[in-house]
Symmetry: C2
Subunit: 634 residues, 2 copies
Amino acid sequence: MSVQQTLNEIRDRIIEEVPKEITISNVEFEGPEVVIYTEDPRKFAKDGDIVRELAKKLRKRVTVRPNVKVLSDPEKARNKIKEIVPDDAGISNIYFDSEFGEATVEAEKPGLVIGKYGSTLREITENIGWTLKVIRKPPIETPIVQSVRQYIRAQSEERKEILKRVGRKIHREPTSEEEWVRTTHLGGSREVGRSSILLTTPESRVLVDCGIKPGSNQTPYLHIPEAYPISDIDAVVITHAHLDHSGLIPLLYKYGYEGPIYCTAPTRDLMALLQLDYIDIAARESDRIPYNSKMVREATKHAILLEYGEVTDIAPDIRLTLHNAGHILGSSMAHFHIGEGLYNVTVTGDFNSGKSRLFDSASNNFPRVEALIMESTYGGAQDNQPSRRRGEDKLVDIVNKTTRRGGKVIIPAFAVGRSQETMLVIEEHMRNGKMDKVPVYLDGMIWEATAIHTTYPEYLNEKIKNRIFHKEKNPFLSDIFHRVDSNNMREEVIKGEPCVILSTSGMLNGGPIIQYFKQLAPDPENNLTFVGYQAEGTLGRRIQKGWDEVPLSGGNERTESVKVRLEIDSIEGFSGHSDRQQLIEFIRSMKSKPEKVLTVHGDEEKCIDLASTLYKKFHMDTLAPKNLETTRYI
Amino acid sequence: MSVQQTLNEIRDRIIEEVPKEITISNVEFEGPEVVIYTEDPRKFAKDGDIVRELAKKLRKRVTVRPNVKVLSDPEKARNKIKEIVPDDAGISNIYFDSEFGEATVEAEKPGLVIGKYGSTLREITENIGWTLKVIRKPPIETPIVQSVRQYIRAQSEERKEILKRVGRKIHREPTSEEEWVRTTHLGGSREVGRSSILLTTPESRVLVDCGIKPGSNQTPYLHIPEAYPISDIDAVVITHAHLDHSGLIPLLYKYGYEGPIYCTAPTRDLMALLQLDYIDIAARESDRIPYNSKMVREATKHAILLEYGEVTDIAPDIRLTLHNAGHILGSSMAHFHIGEGLYNVTVTGDFNSGKSRLFDSASNNFPRVEALIMESTYGGAQDNQPSRRRGEDKLVDIVNKTTRRGGKVIIPAFAVGRSQETMLVIEEHMRNGKMDKVPVYLDGMIWEATAIHTTYPEYLNEKIKNRIFHKEKNPFLSDIFHRVDSNNMREEVIKGEPCVILSTSGMLNGGPIIQYFKQLAPDPENNLTFVGYQAEGTLGRRIQKGWDEVPLSGGNERTESVKVRLEIDSIEGFSGHSDRQQLIEFIRSMKSKPEKVLTVHGDEEKCIDLASTLYKKFHMDTLAPKNLETTRYI
Ligand SMILES: [Zn+2]
Ligand SMILES: [Zn+2]
Ligand SMILES: [Zn+2]
Ligand SMILES: [Zn+2]
Ligand SMILES: [Zn+2]
């Protein structure tokens, strides 16, 4: 059956199912969705159940869009919206996208725009024809989110073309008679960095993540025949925005990929932020720059956003569902349902099965998983982490002793994840008086990344979400935090009073942290505290290992040698990763246990150790694959 | 460095090395060889050492060819050859191939054409310009060998083009900075049948074997991206002619491959014989026929013949050496030397590390092997075979008791290997009187295959070779053997006196054996004796398992049911494969032991059992890969 035949069948089915008085003008595949164009959006709007019923019957995601000729003039529509929505909602912006017949309303209180069970939304659509999307006005300004959203709106015509093309590809007729499922490991096996896994069936190929390797120039093996041609890959899925998972996504577009990227909304925005920062830093340090900002925009343009739990067709024989991974904002586990019940593979990405200050713990309640590809960052025999509480106490001690002796505490941190977690710890303990109140400076991308967190509160846990909704309780708006946004200010901080400095990059491979380190390292009164994993080959790892002198190539200057005399500490309780015990518990507590577990994303001996531990404990088939190896599941 | 630059360097080097008075008119890559065209072949011929020295210095295979303008007229040359060579040599044919400047002399006693240390050959070349190739006149007529050789001669112009193209591809400049070695298992893993392994490096891809699966329509996984495009594969290597290793080679040409096939001379001829027979049988049984005789010829045309021990460049970073596998005529182990000392992989193909009546035992004295991919046909815990002697005694008993009670003994056998081995056993025991002398009928391709054995005596062990050289002692010419070459004769044999019938196919999946079986099965006086491995899914396996009634679809007739009342025996001592003990000893006695052993070509549990046994005994990394899996070595 051709795509057109499939589409015709679906259209006939829809016409049969919806009430006679609703006119269906067109039915299209747009990305993974079936889109119904109608001249009667008002009638559709009246009964919210019609669409839900259709989706269930078709086993597809269904969206209704008004035919362009029934749309009110945008000016009139804008007035009508403001008339219907209560002033309390705090509407800050309304955008009209005629390509999709959709009006986006940005408001301080989205709930008031939506109304009870969507009643206000429906009332608006009945009046103006346009369907509505409601988004939250971020409590902190976020230029990156603004510019990403603006860009997406500007590209709406091309995006529609892309979605149609993707939609037809997803719904193409399956042609193979064989049945098998494989993964090829392009990167991130027996190492931390350049995560990239190719999932293949006779029908389809899906790439999960495509990251850089910090402290190395190694990239995923994208040039091997299994990945060739890149342009033919069906879908790219990004588990989360950290550069070791998303850093080389733009490169795919350089290599000819024009397909979709599936991820959560925060992942799309954080990814753009981190990729642009990555190009910036590379340019400043005259490193090889693999792509430019144009390719970052290409990646953004091709993003198809998914929410946790949303089941989505991404290829003729593959359905994708993202689940909360608890690791950073928007981080996901990717669950692939292959064939009609043939096989299920879950790629965990980085995950935290413990509760953190920001996120709910990773979900592991999959209906069925035959194979699990799991991270092993802390999979080694010695990798049981001290409790979060002990970690926090240690940080309080470090800050107090250092600042009391007149020193400064430098904390290198990933812009996303560890930074916000550390900010919350500091804010609490300065508020409750355990930690002396000193200024906390945020440098690099940390402020921007924090702002993005406040844009997507629905991805945070209940407690922090509620605090963010109340300006006066929003911890990120506390007056202890100061944003460093110029070189002058940086110099002032370095010369100034005792303080805490949070700065990127998290492994000291570039970013403003280098400048702080270079000037503060020779003074033994200062302190450098690691709160995250330091990969082999990075400056962070060397310092952690105790090198007392390190070479530094600073910006345009020549390489110089820096004596490391400041105090070094590592705090392990703040990790965004599960520790060894939690990794094992994650498997033990799965309702449907996998037959096969592959351990990846960890130093070689940790991947091997975890694989052998899980085999002994649960008698499942386990494996620590190598890069360039292919495993067959069925 | 481009191919042309490499070639120029080699040419300069050659001009430097050879005496001034020898004119070099051209230097070319032709397949893996460096070919020197000269106007002074006579001077080259005078000093046999020049070429040997050059080859050593260049680390290449070097051939000298006369420039076409110095060649004598073929008629004159023919007379000159006959004049120089003693009559005793028994020259039966002389062919002139002006494309290669080569004259092929077919003689009963090649040694007399060659002379002491090649003296006669040199004398001829000095006189006529042509270089000489000497081949043995087969003691038994072999239409297939004749026709293959004739075809190759007729295609000599195209063959030269092919060789030039291949030569330039082999010597292209390596471009990758990565270093890795992988194998992907396209077939023959955890199964017997459709053997096919893809060996890949960043630079090159080599396919080892491409076979059918007896009793099944399953083919190697040629359509996966790793093998795509087939036209870009650098080289195909065939370990031996059995159809489970060579049966789908012609298909590669259908899929666009135009590259070389490396194998021994007997493998090329036997392969053509078996492939043509395979098409024939498939056509007769109205099975799906994957290719036609044109593609068999394409495969033949692209064969580049290697002798055991000859080190040959087959890709910019891969050298191939074939070693005797002791399994069937021309069977080889393929040893791949990758990079300059980077890594060595040996694919054993099927091998017999015991001595047989026909062959020396498989060699295992490789200078270096890091990884070994070995067959596991008899790798299971129960697979220790009784001695050859006990097997022979059993066959004597079976023939005597069956023929004495008036019955017939049917022995299904592969045309190549098991048939000749069995013929030799029968011949000896009828000659020494232990076995009653009854007619032995040979049907199917057996006669032709036997003739090919006598064409390549240098591939047989000393003892049988010497017997073949003396007509009166040639066991295959014994008067007990009768060739069945018509349906009438077949019917007569079936109705006739007690006898032994050897017929193909060896697993009763087609061939004339079906007709014998159908008519002789219902009579309990008859006997069916298996002397070879019966694959899962074949009729042979069912009968061996004891089915007392089997369905038979005979030619154009409908499927009918045949009652199996005749006596069934299996003799295991004649196998062309190593038994379990021998497989283990093969590893134990290797001077340079591999770090890694992959077990393939065996039922699933046998591959797994052998892998785990070798791991326990030798503490090496072992693995029973699955089809579609990829293993990385370095
Ligand atoms: Zn991460
Ligand atoms: Zn990661
Ligand atoms: Zn991480
Ligand atoms: Zn064989
Ligand atoms: Zn075989």
